[in-house]
Subunit: 356 residues, 2 copies
DNA sequence: ATGCGCAGGTAACGCGCGTTACCTATCTGG
DNA sequence: CCAGATAGGTAACGCGCGTTACCTGCGCAT
C-alpha cells in the first residue's frame, strides 16, 4: 500500500501570479478598465466590445484576483472571524457550518480561530487572546464568539475593536449582543409532546440545576404541565451527571423507587447522553421503549439520537441556525444598522423519531 | 430573558488602524527602523535604545501589523487552505483540529473552506471548485484536502497550482501525496487484543467489502489470526450496513446461527456504530459484555465508544495526527524539500476500555 | 590629513489593486 | 458653427508594508 517513490510533486511551475496589468496588456487597455469591468462598476462607460476583450483575456491568462491586495486597497477584507473550541465540542462544528454557509452566501470568508478554552478564565486564556489578536491582524470586519454549551462568558477586551456577536452564550458583562437557544420553549415542546401522547406522570432527569439549559428547560416543562392543569412533582425530578452513566443512575433511581402503578410512564432527559444511559436502565428492567416507558431527549446529538434503538425523539439545539443568524447579525452590525435585541432566542424544534 | 433594548453596540470608534508610520513618528525614527525591529532582522544595526523606544511606541499606540499588507509586500501569505466537508462528518473536525494546532505552532493560519461534497463527482462539484478558487485568491501557500472516510478521490485541477496534500484519502489519479490511516495494522491490533484475551472463535461484522477500510482491516485480522496459527472462518464474517441497525442485524444473525458452544466468544465490529447495534443484540439475548461476548470496535467515535455501557474498547482512527502530519508535510513541500513517500501511513492505536 | 570600516540609520521602490481626477473624440441641439 | 453632453477611456495616487540601496557621522590606523 505504501509506495516509496519519491514524489517530485507539482512540477507545475508555480507561475508567479497573473496580475491585472497582464490582463490589461493582453486586452490592449488600461488597468483601470480591467478593474472597472471586474468589479462590475455601475457608472463605468466601457463598450461591450472591450468588455468582451477583457473578459477573454481574463480567461486566457487564468487571472485570479489577489484578495490581499484588494483588501488593502479597498480597506475591506471581506472576512469575519469566529473564535471557538474546535474539537472539544461536537457542537461547535454545527455552529461553524451554519456560519460558514451564510458567510459563503454573503461572499465573505470565515476565518476560524481555535480557542481550546473559550472561557475567559483559566490557564489557556493567553491562547484565546492570541487567537483574537491574530484575527484582528487579518483585519476581520467582525467577530463571532461561540461557546460549546449555553452559558455566560467574559469576552476578551480586544474583541471590542470590531463588531462582535456571541453564539450559544451571552456576555456576562452585558455589553455584546448574543444568540442563544430558546431553552424554555424547547422544554415546553418536549413535555407537550409527552402530554399529547397521553402521559401524565413524567419523570425528569435533570442537569446541573444552575446552568441556563437546566433552568430554561425545566421552566418550559413546568409551563407545559401547568397548561394541562398538572404540576411537576419534585420527587420526579432527579439530578444526574451529564453523561450516559449519570443518566443510567438517575433512571435506575426513578424506576426503582416506584411500584409499577406509580411509576412515571415517560422520561424527559435533559440531554441525549443521559437518555442513552436511561435506555440501558429501562431495557435492563425488561421494559419496552416506548411501550412501557417513553423517552424524550434534548440536544439532538446525531450520533446518539439517530443510532439509539429505538431512535430517540428529541429536541434539537439549532446550532446551524444560530451560526447563520450570527453572521446575519454581524452583517447588519457592520452595515451600521442597529440590531433588534441584545439577545436573540432561536427556537428548538422537536425531532420526532421513535421513542415516544 | 430576551431584552429588547436596542443596542448601540461598540461605540468604540473603530480607530482607523495605527500604521507603522504612526509608530515611527511616535518613536522619532524612520518607518524602516520600525520594520527592522518588528521583524527581528538579523543584520540590522539598531541601537538598544532606539529599539526600546520603538517597542514602547508599539505598546502605547497599540499597533497591530496588517497581515494583508505584509503578505502583499513579502509575497508570503502564511496561510494554508484546507478543503473538507465540514459537518457531514464528525471526523473532519478532528482533522481540522490537528491541522489547526500544528499550523498554529508554525505561526501559520489555516483557512477552512467548506465542500459539502468532497467527491469530485456529483452535483456539488461547482461548490468545491469555487472553494478552492477562493482559497487560491487568498494566496494560500499550500492546500490540504481531507475526506471523511478513507477513499480515493479526484482532486480538482486547480489544486495543482500549489503544493497539495491529501488527508484520509488518496489521489485516484496517483499524483498527489497523501496521508491515510494504517487500516491493516489497525485490524491486526484489534484481533491480537482479542486473541490475547483468550478468544479463539472471533466473529467479524464487516463493512462494504470494497472500501479501503474493510479491505485493510480484514487483511490485518487475517494476519493476526495467521500468526496465532488460526484461520478466519468465512462463515464468521458477516457483512452489515454501516449503521447501528446494520450492526444489530449482523450480530443477530451471527448469534442466532450457532449453539452456545459454537458461538463466537468475541465480535470484531469494523466500526463503532455497528458495535453499538451489536451491543443491543447481545444484551437482548441476556448475554453479558464482555463476560459472555467480548466486543471490539473501530474508529473511536467518542460520542459512542465512550458512552456505551460498558465502554467500548476500540481502535482509534488517528485524525488529529493525520491533520498535523498533513501540515508538516505541506511545510516540507513548500520549503522545497522532497517528501518521503507518496503515501504515509499513520498508526491506529488501540483504546482499551471495558468491552474486552 | 587621509582612508576606511562600521554603527545607526533613511529614502524610495514595488507588491496588486481601488479609485478619483482628468482627458479626448464624437455626437446633439440650438 | 459652436457649446455642451456623453461615451470611452487613461494617469496617478495611496493602501501598509518588506526590502534594497544609499547616506552620514565617528573612531581609528596609516
Amino acid at each position: 500500500m505504501a509506495k516509496t517513490t519519491t514524489s517530485n510533486h507539482a512540477g507545475a511551475a508555480r507561475q508567479r501570479g497573473v496580475t491585472m496589468n497582464d490582463v490589461a496588456k493582453h486586452a490592449g487597455v488600461s488597468r483601470t478598465a480591467v478593474s472597472f469591468v471586474l468589479s462590475n462598476r455601475e457608472n463605468a462607460s466601457i463598450s461591450e466590445e472591450t468588455r468582451a476583450r477583457i473578459n477573454e483575456a481574463v480567461q486566457v491568462l487564468g487571472y485570479r484576483p489577489n484578495a490581499g491586495a484588494r483588501a488593502l486597497a479597498s480597506q475591506r477584507s471581506g472576512w469575519y472571524g469566529i473564535v471557538t473550541e474546535i474539537v472539544t465540542a461536537p457542537f461547535a462544528v454545527d455552529i461553524i457550518k451554519g456560519a460558514q454557509d451564510q458567510a459563503w452566501l454573503d461572499r465573505r470568508f470565515l476565518l476560524i480561530a481555535p480557542s481550546d478554552q473559550a472561557d475567559a478564565v483559566g490557564p489557556n486564556q493567553g491562547m484565546e487572546d492570541a487567537a483574537i489578536e491574530k484575527l484582528l491582524e487579518q483585519r476581520v470586519e467582525g467577530l463571532l464568539y461561540a461557546a460549546t454549551y449555553h452559558r455566560g462568558v467574559h469576552v476578551p477586551e480586544s474583541a471590542n475593536e470590531v463588531p462582535t456577536v456571541l453564539i450559544n452564550c451571552f456576555d456576562a458583562d452585558g455589553r455584546l449582543p448574543s444568540i442563544v437557544p430558546d431553552e424554555r420553549a424547547g422544554g415546553r415542546v418536549a413535555v407537550e409532546r409527552l402530554l399529547q401522547a397521553g402521559h401524565r406522570r413524567i419523570g425528569v432527569i435533570n442537569l446541573d440545576p444552575d446552568i441556563p439549559a437546566a433552568v430554561g428547560r425545566l421552566a418550559g416543562a413546568r409551563e407545559a404541565l401547568a397548561d394541562a392543569g398538572l404540576e411537576l412533582d419534585p420527587q420526579l425530578v432527579v439530578p444526574g451527571h451529564a453523561t450516559a452513566d449519570g443518566g443510567y443512575e438517575a433512571a435506575c433511581e426513578i424506576l426503582d423507587r416506584y411500584t409499577e402503578k406509580d411509576r412515571p410512564t415517560a422520561l424527559f432527559c435533559l440531554n441525549d447522553r443521559m437518555a442513552m444511559g436511561a435506555y440501558d436502565a429501562i431495557k435492563e428492567r425488561g421494559l419496552a421503549i416506548p411501550g412501557d416507558i417513553a423517552v424524550i431527549g434534548f440536544d439532538n446529538q446525531e450520533l446518539i439520537a439517530a443510532y439509539l434503538r429505538p431512535k430517540l425523539t428529541t429536541v434539537a439545539l439549532p446550532f446551524e441556525k444560530m451560526g447563520a443568524l450570527g453572521v446575519q447579525t454581524l452583517a447588519a452590525l457592520t452595515a451600521g444598522q442597529p440590531i433588534i435585541a441584545d439577545q436573540q432566542l432561536v427556537g428548538c424544534p422537536l425531532l420526532e423519531r421513535s421513542s415516544v
